[in-house]
Amino acid sequence: MKAVQMINIVKVYPNGIVANNGVNFEVEVGEIHSLVGENGAGKTTLMKILFGIEQPTQGEIRIFEKPVHISSPHDAIKLGIGMVHQHFMLVPSLTVAENIVLGMEPTKAWGTTIDMDRAVEMVNEVAEKYGLPVPAKEVVLDLPVGIKQRIEILKALIRGAKILILDEPTAVLTPQETEELFVALKNLAKKGMTIIFISHKLNEVKEISDRITVLRDGKTMGTYRVEDVTEEEISRLMVGRDVELVIDRPPAKPGRVVLQVKDLSYYREDGVRVLKGVSFSLRSGEILGVAGVEGNGQRELVEILTGLRFGATGSIVLNGEEVLGLTAYDLRRKKVAHIPEDRIEKGAAVKASIAENLISDRYYKRPFSGRLVLFPKKVIEFAKKAIKMFSIKTDSPLTEVGMLSGGNMQKVVVAREFTSGADLLVADQPTRGIDVGSTEFVRKKIIEVRDSGVAVLLVSADLQEILQLSDRIIVMYKGEIVGYFDKNEGLTEEDLGYYMLGVKRHDPDRVKEAALL
């Protein structure tokens, strides 16, 4: 029996991007089926169509072998489809039980008040049935990410989901939490649940799936039994060529100290102290990796260092000069480059052209402008060069950045920041959400700028990336540096995981070594 059949699906987005171009996708009842592909290959779009968020331009969908028309998530839920999104959709101030029953609350006799006891009962029942225990009465706000994800899964199950879609569920998890999730998923499959698992981490895909469907450029490249293919074969199918999964990194030759952060503390607007006396140093020609589960102060640290957030105490010395409290305007002129975490919100103006995006930090100087006037020829000339150098896929430097795929958009951001002649590069999640090919490209470029003498601060939730690129690593947990590793040889993702979860921590003297004093 087939749980899902999507036949010849075509989807064209309003901006003209063809996300799916004749995709065929079939899932058997009770299997864990992985959907893999580079970002921009059309995985998320396909799942959005299945869950009724997007409408296909063409194509047919059958659920449990019956042709259906899914025009909204409401329809999808009625058909027994549940989706766990990459970004959690929970109300942080409500309890676990309240979140799970939201919209289908059990009520007391008159139907006017919510029967909380009954709600908790319902949640516990489902949780027990599927082996996904949650603290039903606690407020969601402070719960660990792994639990929040479990809540999302329960939300789908309690609504009678028989087909569960998980969109990159492990992106936000530590290795330990991922392990737990996998146990739970296998358990669910055993109970007859059909699970569609979206990921581009191939080792995970290998570990958990029964079958794999590979997408590339909006087309199906084929469906395989997991034991019939190797990771290398899958990645070749995804990218269309051989990918170097290992990046060649010559040893660093660190020079003078470029950045010295001392005792940096910061209270967020809501009064929470998100940075607690952070100290570290960074030399030219080296990469310092900052590992940590998201939300442990990394974002604030980056924004303070790049002049986008103010009110911190302590000291930041850049090239021998105190720069704490300076704005992005000043810091850009003091040779700080910044690849931001969010390319659409901060890193680019999607409605402006590629050329306009590439000069946003240097439009005011030669050769791009004189005293008053811009020199469009020079701008276009530079843009063409950058497009070539960073292999940005486009037919013209005048194309709007919003028309590009995620990977190419990130290349525009990277092209600007890598050519700015900076002394310090702050790279915040430089490869998040971009395809394997672009990721490889960006990582190589980061090593290249390091070797040209730039000091690189690499903040990433991707431990593989941290281990692959960094010369030294600090681990942040609840606004503090809890781990410091000088050489990363022999260090594994699991080792870092313990520090990220706050299970292990180095003694203060070792952490102080991060400041190189």
Partner: protein, 351 residues
């Protein structure tokens, strides 16, 4: 892709205009039994005599200016709708300069213009500064400033510059050194239209060919991106509004020096608000402002001609404008067609 969009916008704008005209015609059917005649005057009236053509061109001038003024702030995604007040206050300042500045031929015209621009700019600077400093909504404060400009301006004119010998509440007549020259012997066509077209080119150059224009547009496209890139967003917020105010202020000066030769308004002339629809029609493109202003002026002139010939209230045109604003700002209007067009072109690219 870019060509598709131009086609789409052109078709959409044309269709919008046609729908508005159709509705206008239907309303006329209710208002009079000579609807056909009235409609003919409305559509063809502006071109029926030389005098009316001159009227059409003169009415276009202030609309180009205010259309440009609004386009500048809209490109920065700032919703300063104070062009009305800036124009009014600029006109008051122009009156002062025309009456009290030294009466030197040619030079005084320049001085009056500069003084009006300064006044308009200063007026726009108030909401601009409040926005940059305290994040006060420029939409609200610029709207409120319109009232202040109106009553304060009337006070200045009526109590300090009023010509007591004139039969109406108007200022003293400007000296001849503050008159714009006539371009035709028998008709009062003043060179304002040329200055306005010159300004449209200038504003285009400013927006697309200067550093400051680049900053302004980037702030408009994505403020966070601009700040992140090291653009001083607060500066842009201020100077874009001041430039806009200067253009609006200049419109006031030219209107008085070219057309009335004295301050004559006891009600705000409405050019500032018409400037918003001009900017909307032109999609904030300074060069497109010229035809857009001409079009709105045509509607206005047509409605007045119709009013004079048939006695139907010219205010009908306000309704037409409202319908057009609604249709143009309604993103969903014709969206299905746009989607189909995109799908077709995307799929043909794939093959």
């Amino acid at each position: 892709m870019r060509r598709d969009r131009i086609i789409f916008e052109t078709v959409r704008t044309t269709l919008t205009i046609l729908i508005a005209l159709l509705i206008g015609y239907v309303i006329l059917l209710f208002a009079t039994d000579k609807a056909n005649e009235a409609f003919k005057w409305f559509l063809l009236g502006p071109l029926s005599t030389k005098r009316r053509i001159v009227e059409l061109l003169n009415r276009t001038t202030p609309l180009i200016f205010t259309g440009l003024a609004v386009s500048v702030v809209f490109q920065a995604e700032i919703f300063n709708i104070g062009a009305e007040g800036q124009l009014f206050f600029g006109a008051v300042a122009a009156t002062f300069a025309a009456l009290y500045f030294p009466h030197i031929k040619f030079l005084q015209i320049i001085l009056v213009m500069l003084f009006a621009m300064a006044a308009g700019g200063a007026w726009a600077a108030v909401p601009a500064y409040m926005k940059a400093k305290w994040n006060a909504s420029e939409l609200v404060s610029s709207l409120m400033m319109n009232y202040v400009a109106f009553f304060f301006g009337l006070y200045l004119v009526n109590y300090h510059m009023r010509d007591v010998n004139a039969g109406a509440l108007v200022s003293y007549r400007f000296p001849r050194t503050a008159w714009l020259p006539r371009m035709l012997r028998r008709y009062n066509l003043h060179p304002g239209i040329l200055i306005a077209i010159g300004f449209a080119l200038l504003v285009w150059f400013f927006l697309y060919r200067t550093k400051y224009g680049y900053e302004l547009r980037m702030v408009g496209k994505n403020k966070e991106f601009a700040r992140f890139s090291g653009i001083k967003v607060e500066n842009v917020v201020i100077y874009s509004q001041i430039i806009s105010g200067m253009i609006a202020g200049l419109a006031g000066a030219i209107e008085l020096m070219g057309l009335y030769k004295r301050f004559v308004w006891q009600m705000t002339p409405g050019y500032g608000f018409d400037g918003i629809i001009v900017a909307l029609l032109a999609r904030n493109n300074p060069l497109m402002v010229i035809p857009a202003a001409l079009f709105i002026s045509y509607l206005r002139t047509g409605s007045y001609v119709m009013g004079r010939m048939t006695g139907i209230a010219p205010e009908i045109v306000v309704m037409l404008q409202a319908i057009m604003i609604l249709l143009i700002t309604a993103e969903a209007f014709l969206a299905f067609w746009k989607r189909r067009m995109i799908e077709k072109s995307a799929m043909s690219r794939e093959e």
